[in-house]
């Protein structure tokens, strides 16, 4: 992937030409200022083509969705924790869906479905890689903007469109989709099976189609920018690990999201055009349906062919950012840079080869199942390499516990905890017992949900000064961290025990079961902690918006003493990022503690006396 110095220089020139044509002259500081006066509110804050502004748009939209999705989980946890109680204010909020202050089962499932959809796609995909791929790729590879700022802007606005449709679906009379975020047909294909399978489901599918367009426009841009627009000297092996992670994230998305799109379109056909892709031999509400020959399982293959890579689409950016933040704050090079890149690459390849481990109990051919067991457990090898490399990075470091660093350490802890339970679920024999129980809920919330959230928080705290030229308040950040990590473990650790008792997930009420009704006390405890943790997230939101306007101002361009290029820009970089020439890169991103120097930024030329690093 190395194009050689000549080619690199040419590309760099091309890219600056492109930006010149696009946004006016950026070559000098003065010219930039001149241009600045022409920017209107609309072009600067709404239809912006500046990757930094688009990143902020993704982040703020993601935060809004996270509040909605989080609130939904608190509401359905009320039902699980206090199945006997009534909450009159729920009726004020949700009307007939919570008549008498008690959620209807149908609405409970709608909340569960929306919580999953919102958090997986809108928060941890768009909110996470949308924000940080946009923000960090041009800044860290040394480019003035994305390869195509226009497509980049469209990427956000397609996401906005998808958000609007999904948000609207919350208000339709029959309610939003309620078949789970995995929308398995026939439950999602036939309106007779549940009220959430009516118009709400169509809106879900259309929204997701828009979302996929957004994701593809973004992903193609990220890949192109990383491959073609690196600054002089920035060879692929000098890229910060954040960029490698975001690169593989984009590759995963570009190759797997179209498959979900095909699944969504076929499902729309089955719903509205009378086709039988996923339907066969069905009697519903006393009606014998004519559909024959379709396969409900086919949809699951299409879904999980995206669905599993999706897990890594969510996780890899968090891994990349944590790697970077741990190295910076340990004041040490990341241990085993090449192994880190190699293991992300291995994870990205394997991510495509394990989807059927979600389908061990669908009647899948046992031999096929065994192949997926082998490939699934293989992922533990690169994951283990990453964990041990993070641990070794901390070893003999000089660690600064900034809020970002704490969240990165928390990420590693959660990744270990949730990753190890993946070894249970990936082993098909154990999955027979654990499938669709609370063990699964605990597993994926820890490893994908909370861990990736921690990666996102780490990223926000770490790059907030670069985004807004101000710091977030440390005291609130520390409280946020400690409440969140303690709360996350209190919520999800005991759930493993519920799963080992066979307690199924997605149940509205367990009181009718002799096998699962012994966890009432625990469910109440979990719901209580969930409320506290949710409140702590509001503290983060407050800190975020307050600090954006009133936070302590940055006085240094490089507050963390970091090596990467984004910290060579001015405190508040304009569109084009560097007022003068784009800096040239002379070394990898992790020359910390090398030759007695605390840190040596990438743009510092290699001295004659310097030892050979990697």
């Amino acid at each position: 992937m190395d194009f050689g110095p000549y080619r690199k220089e040419k590309i760099k020139n091309m890219s600056s030409v492109a930006t010149l044509q696009h946004e006016g002259v950026h070559g000098s500081h003065d010219a930039h200022h001149e241009h600045h006066h022409h920017e209107t509110f609309i072009t600067k804050y709404v239809f912006s083509q500046d990757h930094k502004m688009i990143a902020k748009q993704f982040l703020v939209t993601g935060i809004i969705w996270a509040i909605i999705g989080g609130l939904f989980s608190v509401v359905f946890r009320l039902q699980l924790g206090y199945p006997e109680a009534t909450f009159p204010w729920l009726e004020d909020l949700f009307g007939h869906w919570a008549a008498g202050g008690k959620l209807k089962p149908e609405f409970y499932y709608a909340l569960v479905t929306m919580h999953g959809t919102i958090l997986v796609f809108f928060v941890l995909t768009a909110g996470l890689s949308g924000t940080f791929a946009n923000f960090l790729i041009p800044l860290q590879v040394g480019a003035r903007d994305m390869a195509s700022p226009m497509l980049n802007m469209l990427s956000y606005w397609f996401f906005f469109l998808a958000s609007t449709i999904m948000f609207a679906s919350l208000f339709v009379q029959t309610g939003p989709a309620s078949g789970g975020w995995t929308i398995y047909p026939p439950l999602s294909a036939l309106g007779e099976t549940s009220s959430g399978a009516k118009i709400g489901m169509d809106l879900w599918l259309v929204s997701m189609a828009m979302f996929i367009v957004s994701s593809l426009l973004g992903g193609l841009n990220y890949i192109t920018t990383i491959l073609n627009m690196r600054t002089k000297g920035m060879s692929m092996t000098r890229l910060p690990l954040t960029i490698w992670a975001l690169f593989f994230t984009a590759v995963l998305g570009v190759l797997s999201f179209p498959v979900l799109l095909s699944g969504a379109i076929l499902l729309l056909f089955d719903r509205n055009l009378g086709t039988s892709f996923f339907l066969s031999d069905i009697v519903v509400a006393g009606k014998i349906l004519p559909n024959e020959g379709g396969s409900a399982i086919l949809f699951q293959h299409l879904f999980w062919f995206l669905g599993h890579p999706e897990v890594y689409i969510i996780l890899l950016p968090a891994m990349g950012m944590s790697s970077e933040i741990i190295s910076v704050n340990s004041r040490k090079p990341i241990f085993g840079y090449m192994a880190m890149v190699g293991s992300v690459f291995a994870i990205a390849i394997l991510a495509f080869l394990v989807w059927a481990h979600h389908m061990f109990v669908t009647g899948l051919n046992p031999f096929l199942g065994s192949v997926f067991v082998l490939l699934t457990l293989l992922i533990a090898v690169p994951s283990a390499i990453k964990v041990f490399n993070w641990l070794t990075t901390l070893w003999r470091g000089s660690i600064r516990f900034t809020p970002g660093m704490l969240f990165a350490i928390g990420f590693v802890s959660l990744f270990i905890s949730g990753g190890l339970t993946g070894i249970f679920l990936g082993n098909s024999a154990l999955d027979l017992h654990l499938h669709d129980t609370y063990f699964v809920v605990a597993h994926f919330h820890i490893v994908m949900g909370v861990a990736s959230m921690f990666g996102m928080f780490a990223g926000v705290y770490h790059w907030f000064p670069k985004m807004f030229g101000r710091y977030m308040n440390n005291t609130m950040a520390y409280i946020h961290f400690w409440v969140t990590i303690i709360g996350a473990y209190l919520i999800f650790w005991p759930m493993h025990y519920e799963g080992l008792a066979g307690m199924p997930r997605r149940y509205y009420d367990y009181s009718g079961w002799t096998s699962f009704n012994m966890f009432n006390g625990l469910n109440e405890f979990i719901s209580f902690v969930a409320m506290i943790v949710f409140a702590a997230q509001l503290l983060f939101v407050f800190n975020f918006f307050y600090s954006m306007y009133k936070g302590r101002k940055c006085t240094s361009t490089n507050p963390w003493g970091s090596n990467t290029l984004e910290w060579t820009t001015p405190i508040n970089p304009g569109h084009g990022n560097w007022p003068g020439e784009i800096p040239e890169v002379h070394r990898g991103a992790y020359d910390y503690a090398k030759d007695g120097r605390e840190f040596t930024p990438q743009n510092v030329p290699v001295g004659d006396d310097e030892s050979k690093g990697h």
Binding site: Y109, Y184, F335, T362, A429, R552
Partner: protein
Amino acid sequence: MIALGALIFVVVFQIAKASEYVSILKGEDKTRKQNNKINAFFLLGFLVFGLIGAWYCNELYYGKTLFPQGSASIEGEAIDTMMIVTIVLTGIIFVITQVLLFWFSFKYQEKDNKKAFYFAHSTKLELVWTTIPAIVLAVLVVFGLKAWFKITGDAPKDSIVVEVTGHQFAWEFRYPGADKVLGKKNYKLTTAKNNLGVDFNDPASHDDIHVNTTMHIPVGVPVKMVIHSQDVIHDVGLPHFRLKMDAVPGIPTTQWFTPKITTADMKKKTNNPDFTYEIACDQLCGSSHYAMRGVIIVETMEEYKKWLAEQVSEYSTLYPKTATTDSTKLVTQVLPEKK
């Protein structure tokens, strides 16, 4: 409640603001170092209390899992063994890595007299932690797949066959009767009375028994379930037997197991007079998914045979006249539902 929350919020905000001013007065570097020490100490405390908490959680809830009572099926024993092996192996890795993570964080916190050690990579170390997990996983894969192939292999020839059908939101069962063959079905024959769509033109269907919700099986004999769904995907979840299999419309699936403890014995063993083997639907299937409950009664062979003898075939219930005159004769003419 909300007022209290708001109050806490305001207090936290005021403290946060104040501490920021104090830090500016004291000097940012000094505050940073102080925060560093506090957080490093908290991380160590989190490790200690976290491990104690994990132990305490186990004390509280281990008894409520299904392991103390053991697997109720012979096949499930392999799964329990696998589970214990996996818990031990991952438990060891969990403790080692978490201890290292938090201990390193505490030990290598920034100190004035210490500098970070430049250590960018070591092929030897990286090979070690590539190889060891690979070996551990190979062991788990081999043992896991051994159990998997046994459980998912063909059911023994002498298995009792029970057809399980799921629909929103109940389970129904069909036994093949004396001829040991289940009559054919065609979903297009479904009516309010013949709600499973049995083809009564097939003589094999005439002695088939149809029961709702509760399934009787004898102890110690393999049972093969042939699983259908009529509408959406359901799942026959059998936590006590450690098994699970989806019910998919249009694609019948199978699952077999050998129950080894009767319901009556399990009541004694668990000291719980209410103990019931329950079939839990484990695939979200609509608004009453949480109430899609079936029951399995495991009994002795004598009890099972007695129960079976008391059952009346579905055919003779639906067509009492034809059934009593000649139950083996084709009945095309008298089937009003037949189209």
